[in-house]
């Protein structure tokens, strides 16, 4: 099995899907000739041609709007929003149209669409290139939101997203692109949407997280293991729909839950996860549910020390988990 970076796993996934299904088209800002600003789509235009890998204008509403039309009419478009921060001009298309067409048309039309967007900070991207936007979309019925945390999951979730008959938002953490590596099978495999993955088993504390924070949580867990604290790490992988069963199972097992995300606290995924636990697993809890999240600051700062202070780090996760274990 080859060891691929997170970015390479996504590229290989795209290549495999496009080879498998000729209805798939990619388009977005600079995805063609340049191969994407992060090189995720590098070589794909050469392989599949300009008709299937298309450079679009700088107009996110149009990118998503035309993709919806293409999807309704039988293609399987995978538009890219160059940075998740730029997705907001398209929010009307995503929320009002893509999410609702199946419902509005009583099932006559549906939108098999995968919107890819790099998100997250820690790469010195400052205000417009660092945001976490998943919670906005996780709120919307009719959408699915996946956030892979490993190269293996990135490829498998992409396959699932592509074959889904309804719109899926696929958020890839740009700090993970080259920092995360892992074994990825060459053959096609599908990781079902809505299924969390227990990345590490433990006894004392459960960390529930997703995206880049999965690897951070695993690092924290390793350090705490040396201190005798046994930490379980549940990777949500999909933040809508949530894997309620897995969330409750780990919560009941350890009785102490730490929810981690880079997105800020208020209105974040952690609030929803926390509510589910207190609704369904109250009598298993041995401590208040704890959330560790980005600060309530308008955006990621540019200054390196401030950016570091903003980011959730393995150290912050470790300290919070330790505190919870001691409670």
């Amino acid at each position: 099995m080859a060891e691929l970076s997170y970015l390479e796993a996504i590229r290989e996934g795209l290549r495999q899907e496009m080879e498998r299904d000729s209805r798939i088209i990619l388009y977005g800002e600079d995805v063609g000739v340049r191969g994407g600003v992060f090189r995720v789509t590098e070589g794909l235009q050469k392989q599949f041609g300009e008709d299937r890998v298309i450079d679009s204008p700088l107009a996110e509403a149009a990118i998503v709007g035309t993709a919806i039309g293409a999807a309704v009419n039988g293609l399987r478009p995978i538009p890219e929003i160059q940075f998740a921060d730029f997705i907001f001009p398209a929010i009307n298309q995503i929320v009002q149209e893509a999410a609702r067409i199946r419902y509005r048309s009583n099932g006559a039309f549906h939108v098999p669409l995968v919107i890819r967007a790099p998100f997250g900070g820690g790469v010195h991207g400052a205000l417009y290139h660092s945001q976490s936007v998943e919670a906005f979309f996780a709120h919307v019925p009719g959408l699915k939101v996946v956030v892979p945390g490993t190269p293996y999951d990135a490829k498998g979730l992409l396959a699932a997203a592509v074959q889904d008959e309804d719109p899926v938002l696929y958020f890839e953490h740009k700090a993970a692109y080259r920092s995360l590596k892992g074994e990825v099978p060459e053959e096609r495999y599908v990781i079902p949407i809505g299924k969390a993955d227990l990345k590490r088993e433990g006894k004392h504390v459960s960390i529930i997280t997703y995206g880049l924070m999965v690897s951070f949580a695993l690092k924290a867990a390793e350090e705490l293991e040396k201190e005798g604290v046994s930490v379980e790490v549940l990777d949500l992988r999909t933040v809508r729909p949530l894997d309620v069963e897995a969330i409750l199972e780990t919560s009941k097992k350890t009785g102490k839950v730490l929810i981690v995300h880079e997105d800020n606290l208020t209105g974040g995924i952690g609030g929803e996860v926390s509510a589910l636990i207190s609704e369904h697993a109250l009598f298993y809890l041995d401590a208040p549910i704890v959330r560790l999240a980005g600060p309530e600051v308008p955006a990621m700062p540019y200054s390196a020390p401030l950016e570091h202070a903003f980011m959730v780090t393995p150290e912050k996760i470790r300290d919070k988990a330790r505190e919870l274990a001691k409670f």
């Binding site: 004392h204 009785g255 109250l282 009598f283 298993y284 809890l285 041995d286 401590a287 001691k326 409670f327």
Partner: protein, 423 residues
């Protein structure tokens, strides 16, 4: 350099923590061995803690008003004659000392959250119930001594093998979970100009006990009218002579105590305690007497009241009153009560609904003695009348026994005439 670390002393057998009342010495003050160093308040006692050594107070680790467990370091004294070393090399060690201070400082507040005891997580409650374990008897290893889920699971594992919890039966009663008296209270409305008085430790204890009593004990209430004309005459005749001979005033309290003792002898259920699935009939008769002090209400106890005559009761009760006003009661003076007398007549009332001093079963009041026209046979006389009110735990006794108890008191008091002997 020798530093003596002073810890929170144990001020009574069942006492687990103490509150710093005030520091009588400040950092830098010299102090003699046995000189008063600070005041500590426990449930209801104030005590001065003497210095264990002669030296200089170098560090105060716990602020006034803070409550810490027994044994927690509360201050440091540099022992005399040994403390010059640090002064000799101040330049080099100044920085070091600062970092040491910075490191040790956070350690002090860590001892504060003892709130972990008596509050259990849902998981702990569920597991304890499922396995029939009393979490109050499990040794907590969590923050602030909190009993964690793992502590319960471990107790379950050990339950079959060695019942470690029975090793300390004496702990059972005092470690019963503290009722939280603030949780369900309606929030106060604070307007501009209102002032907030922080709760004194004594106030907290009173609040907690009152809430616990009223919430857990089904109070029932009875009252009898007692004709104490004879008693008033007797006291009027004896009081000067008594004061001269015994050195204490002759009040009505010892007579009331005698009457209560008679009542408790006749109805032993009144001298008992509710114990969940049983009733503990107390052997000793120890009468608590509610007393108002400027620190709040306290209830010192006259031990073995049934073995004392009027003189003995008078002396014992006045001794307690005097020492309570001076703040010089010991823990022992305040514990072990089996029944309580509240001399409400002292504040001029004629009718009171007293709150039971749980786990006792009853509390009686002696109201103001007032002259009233009373029908006796076919005539009307002016008599000295007093109301005696009783609150009792209806789980333990019913109205019949409680009524009998009051009748014995009434009969005893009414049987006292101008010529009754008090010896």
């Amino acid at each position: 350099m020798a530093t003596e670390v002073v810890s929170m002393p144990q001020l009574g057998e069942s006492v687990t923590e103490g509150t710093i009342g005030q520091w009588l010495k400040n950092v830098g003050d010299p102090i003699e061995k046995y000189e008063a160093l600070l005041e500590v308040t426990t449930d209801k006692v104030n005590a001065e803690v003497p210095a264990p050594v002669t030296g200089t107070v170098t560090k105060i680790l716990v602020d006034p008003g803070q409550t810490v467990p027994i044994g927690t370091p509360i201050c440091e004294i540099e022992v005399e004659g040994t403390g010059s070393e640090s002064a000799e090399a101040p330049q080099t060690s100044a920085e070091e000392a600062q970092t040491v201070e910075a490191q040790t400082a956070p350690a002090a507040p860590a001892a504060a959250p003892q709130e972990g005891r008596g509050r259990y997580s849902p998981a702990v409650r569920r597991l304890a119930e499922e396995h029939g374990i009393d979490p109050a008897r499990v040794n907590g290893t969590g923050a602030g001594g909190r009993v964690t889920r793992n502590d319960i699971l471990q107790a379950v594992d050990h339950k079959g093998a060695a019942p470690a919890k029975t090793a300390q039966p004496a702990q059972a009663a005092p470690s019963a979970p503290a009722a939280s008296f603030a949780l369900e209270s309606a929030p106060a409305v604070i307007d501009d100009g209102d002032t907030l008085e922080p709760l004194a430790p004594v106030r907290k204890v009173i609040a907690e006990r009152m809430v616990r009593s009223k919430q857990t004990v089904p109070h029932a209430w009875l009252m009898v009218e007692v004709d104490v004309t004879g008693l008033v005459e007797l006291r009027g005749r004896l009081k000067n002579e008594f004061k001269a001979r015994e050195g204490v005033s002759l009040t009505y309290v010892p007579f009331m105590m005698r009457a209560i003792v008679e009542g408790l002898r006749a109805v032993p259920e009144m001298n008992s305690q509710w114990n969940g699935d049983s009733i503990v009939i107390k052997k000793r008769i120890n009468l608590g007497m509610a007393a108002a002090t400027d620190r709040g209400l306290i209830v010192p106890v006259v031990k073995d009241a049934d073995q004392k005559n009027i003189v003995g009761l008078a002396k014992a009760s006045q001794d307690l009153v005097q020492r309570s006003r001076a703040g010089r009661l010991t823990m022992d003076d305040l514990s072990g009560g089996t029944f309580t007398l509240d001399n409400t007549g002292a504040v001029g009332t004629v009718l009171t609904y007293p709150v039971i001093n749980a786990p006792e079963v009853g509390i009686v009041t002696m109201e103001s003695i007032v002259k009233r026209p009373v029908v006796i046979g076919n005539t009307i006389g002016i008599r000295d009348m007093v109301n005696v009110c009783l609150s009792f735990d209806h789980r333990v006794v019913d109205g019949a026994e409680a009524g009998k108890f009051l009748q014995v008191i009434k009969k005893h008091l009414e049987g006292i005439g101008p010529d009754t002997s008090i010896y």
